[in-house]
Amino acid sequence: MELTSEEKAALNGEHGDTLQTAYRILVATGEATNAEKLIPITWAHLSGVNYNTIGDAGEQFLRELSKDARVKVKATVNPMGIDFDHISEFNHIDDEFIKKQASIRDSYIRMGVEPTFSCTPYDIFDLPEKNTQVSFAESNAAIFANSLGGLKTNKESAFSALASAITGKSPYSDLRKDNISTPMTIRMKMDNPSELDFGMLGFFAGKVGDTSVNISGVSQPNRRSCKALCGGMGTSGTCAKFQFVDTEDTTSEKVDFGKEEMNEVFDELNTAEKGDIITLGSPQLGLEELSDLSKMLKGKSFEKRCMIFCSRAVQEQARTLDYINEIERAGGEILSDCCTCLTPLIDTNETDAITTNSIKGAYYLKNSTGVDVNLKPLAKIIEDETK
């Protein structure tokens, strides 16, 4: 990779340890993605905020880094593990977790990030103009940005996005260029797919696809389904972009996603007949989804605990628009700054299984939180679990 003399100097440590670390990361990721140079980016979205995911080593790293490092471009951050406004309602969470999570939060704020604590930055901010170069870690957000937002980003890692935030630069990898090679088309064979089906399609596509895939046989999915697709795809593979196509080209490899393929994904991730509690919001719910949910819940009440995750910014808008009242009346608990994935708010001593409509949530609930998962689309959850 070609570096400017300024970049070389930073890599050699002439501008201090922080920038040297950042450039070391950018050079390794540049080599990994065959980039010939670094280019400017205007927005970095950082992952690595939940104490459950980054642990003591991550907490210490950020505490040290934040003494000196400051972000150079707009930077937003992923969810934490907990919602500090509601922490007193969750007695099982120990003080150590709260202390370490607060330290991580404060380190990011010290570096100058916007305290969004959300995996759905595209639901909070207006997106910049088409083809703008950004650096999004958080796989669902990177896939959304590339596929639906018209932006350009690598499927960044926590460290590459952090290095981009500090330097304002990122490797000029294939995903940042026009004409990305897309050697595969996935043919969606399911009629009237629910958002759960889209999540499974994403999980399947992530497994079989390479960097970018075409998807045919899909007509204008709603935002809930689009987010489910991005979430599922980000969980299972390295695929960072998809495009819906009306007509199939003749050159790409064709792979069907039908009943059989869907059942295979379902059987891999659905491990329980029913859940003790319900979680919604992985990715966190946006305004449109909260509006839908409040309508679906009219005159109904949840028969078991239902945790609903959305960003704080979206929660505030939804309160102003009166969507939250109906959801809370129905017994839904609105939580912000955190999400289904790896939150300790779920007490595993009291919870054997969880009902959710999220494929991404299901993967991490099972493999990281260590609970079984009962998968159902939202409409079926409301039919079965409310009265």
Partner: protein, 127 residues
């Protein structure tokens, strides 16, 4: 043809899997044990091994898992992949774990359980 992503020298026993690894979901960051039963190396520890796998997948936070493994003295001493992804590359860069990318033929020639040396300064990067 091998490509160096993170420089360094290491000697160790090969732990090889043909499954791509989701570090955040599948690896215990304290012990280095694979905890997802769908992997052919389920219950094995990646600690002090030369970890040979196709590439990383899934969460971007997997980079922190690699850094945590190193801090907890449970990391592989080197990693060999067929495709470099940003999560593994950046995790290894920060944790100073030598990492190289090799061709499919070279990947196939590496035997699980063999003792090998990875040296990015040598002409033969691994032997």
């Amino acid at each position: 043809m091998s490509k160096i992503i993170v420089q360094g020298m290491a000697q160790g026993t090969v732990l090889k899997t043909t499954s791509p690894i989701n570090f955040l979901g599948a690896v215990d960051k304290k012990t280095g044990t694979i905890r997802d039963e769908k992997y052919d190396i389920f219950k094995k520890s990646i600690k002090d091994t030369i970890l040979v796998f196709p590439h990383g997948i899934g969460s971007s936070v997997g980079a922190y898992t690699i850094y945590s493994l190193k801090s907890n003295n449970s990391a592989p001493v080197a990693m060999i992949c067929t495709k470099a992804d940003l999560t593994v590359a950046s995790g290894c860069a920060l944790a100073n774990i030598p990492m190289i990318v090799v061709s499919n033929e070279e990947f196939n020639s590496i035997q699980d359980g063999n003792k090998i040396t990875v040296d990015t300064k040598s002409e033969n990067i691994f032997n």
